[in-house]
């Protein structure tokens, strides 16, 4: 378990030593900040974070892959992963270490948006339960996209391929329920259940249901296992 921590610590150090992390953090804050600001004036009569939580998942589909794109791709390209894999550390420990590092970075970014609900709460009675649920949903969604991004990064030596692949998968999962139109029947139900945004919407309403959590955790689990197998195949 210690080794997961060592990898996480190293990756976090690298994030804050590189420009990418800062660019991603600033862009995310600027974009979500302006959306929050705009929706704030849109519905002055309603005190809620709805506008922010409605839009954030879309941007996460891009920002999470941007955070994860280099995690394996650059290490494969430079050969550091090969060296690491001859040391006494398991593939799964490497994957989890990197996953946690990306999650911590995301958590820091989300924490930086906390002034939005705080500002709102000063204007009246804000439903903190819904806000809390929204952030929990964001973390779950962020973890899912991070796991997908990590998986895509483990497939290639090229960061650009990694981010595009991850973005494609994230967007597909985000849009799949809207692609089927008015849902009827089993197929539509499956499409809805496979959609990240469907589950996020239901959490953001303030109700954290087991089926939503189970969905996110299973996608995360599958992606992390595939990532571990993928680097174990040593094809690069």
């Amino acid at each position: 378990m210690n080794k997961v921590f060592f990898v996480t610590k190293r990756e976090l150090g690298s994030y804050f030593n590189s420009v990418v992390a800062y660019v991603v953090v600033i862009l995310f804050l600027v974009i979500t900040g302006s959306i929050f600001w705009l929706s704030y004036f849109d519905e002055v009569s309603v005190l809620s974070m709805r506008g922010f939580f409605n839009q954030a998942p879309l941007f996460l589909a891009f920002f999470a892959p941007a955070i994860t794109m280099g995690l394996f791709a650059t290490e494969k390209r430079s050969g550091t992963l090969e060296l690491l894999m001859t040391m006494p550390i398991s593939n799964f420990q490497i994957v989890m270490g990197k996953f946690f590092a990306a999650m911590i970075l995301l958590a820091v970014v989300f924490a930086m948006t906390l002034p939005y609900p705080y500002t709102l709460s000063m204007l009246g009675a804000l439903d903190w339960g819904a806000v809390f649920a929204g952030y929990a949903g964001l973390m779950l969604l962020g973890a899912t996209y991070t796991a997908i991004g990590l998986m895509a990064s483990s497939w290639t030596r090229d960061q650009v391929v990694a981010i595009l692949t991850a973005f494609a998968i994230c967007m597909f999962l985000y849009l799949i329920d809207q692609l089927v139109g008015q849902p009827t029947g089993t197929a539509a139900y499956i499409a809805e259940y496979a959609s990240t945004s469907y589950h996020f919407r239901s959490i953001a309403r303030g109700v954290i249901e087991a089926r939503n959590v189970v969905y996110y955790l299973s996608v995360i689990g599958v992606c992390l296992v595939v990532t571990t197998l993928s680097i174990g195949a040593r094809r690069w």
Partner: protein, 356 residues
Amino acid sequence: MDDKQQNTEESIVVDGLRKSYGDVDALRGIDFGVRSGEIVGFLGPNGAGKTTTMKILTGFMAATDGHARVAGFDVHRQSDQVRKKIGYLPENVPLYDEMLVYDYLRFIAEVQEVKRAHRDERIDAVAELTGIDAVMGRTISELSKGYRQRVGLAQAIIHEPEVIILDEPTTGLDPNQIVEIRDVITTIGQEKTIIFSTHIMQEVTAVCDRIIIIDDGELVADGTLDELEEKALEATPGVMVSFEGGDEEDLRNYLEGLGAVTGVVDVSGRQKTHKFRLLSDDISELRKAIIDGESRTPRGLLSLRAAEPTLEEIFRLYTAKNDDEQVDEEVDGEEEISAEAVDCQPVEKPEEVAGE
């Protein structure tokens, strides 16, 4: 019980190792052993299978067939134990460019299970040994190639491994740096088993107890430098003669006309002296013929001595079987480059998986 015995005697045992990348056979069944405490030079032309062998020894890559044991453990089935016993420096010295040298060594010490109380002590020790004290606070991307190589060596020995595997540790360095790295290897080698690959013959004479030469995926020679020299001498017996002045063409014709001579190789480079390597099956007859000839008509014989095989000749002797094969070998050489490209490129590109 058998394992224990091997552990004390043989640090590395390689038994019938084969590796194929698709249709390309990188290793065609090699066997060798390295005793504990030995420094072994692993030689071969580019693409001979050196890197592949090393990747298998580190457990990074699985062999197609055959077995390898490092420090008494099977590299494939007991990879976890093997990983704790080895230090490895891959060919292109992969390092985390954005990290400070100190932070990097600390990370490696952590992953390599160096006890917390000893970490600083070990970091200081390897820094001193490899001569990187002065750059501990620098970012790795700022380092010169020589320093990178030293940092790579430092990470390979920080956990005091039993077996150290170095893949071309001196490639791309200038002569001074090469000497420095060799000194470091010699120092480490006083206590550890080291196997390092190179395609530069001089490298091995400076530091190695033993030489293993592989070519085209097969082991072609295994022994001490003296043993290999002797074999080379037996294979191409001859004498070196040099003459002062005279017409080169005349001298050559004269030498070819001598009784015991089977071949004349011109090795002269300097002005006014002509140096030849004479091949012969009967050295004493040849010597007699030359000295007799000199007393009859002086040609300015400067020296006459047994031809010691040069390192290059030993290398060529083992890696290029005879003259007829040399044309083939050059064609092979190109194939071998592509075989080495397979070495570092994925056979099946992962991007294709991503695209599905």
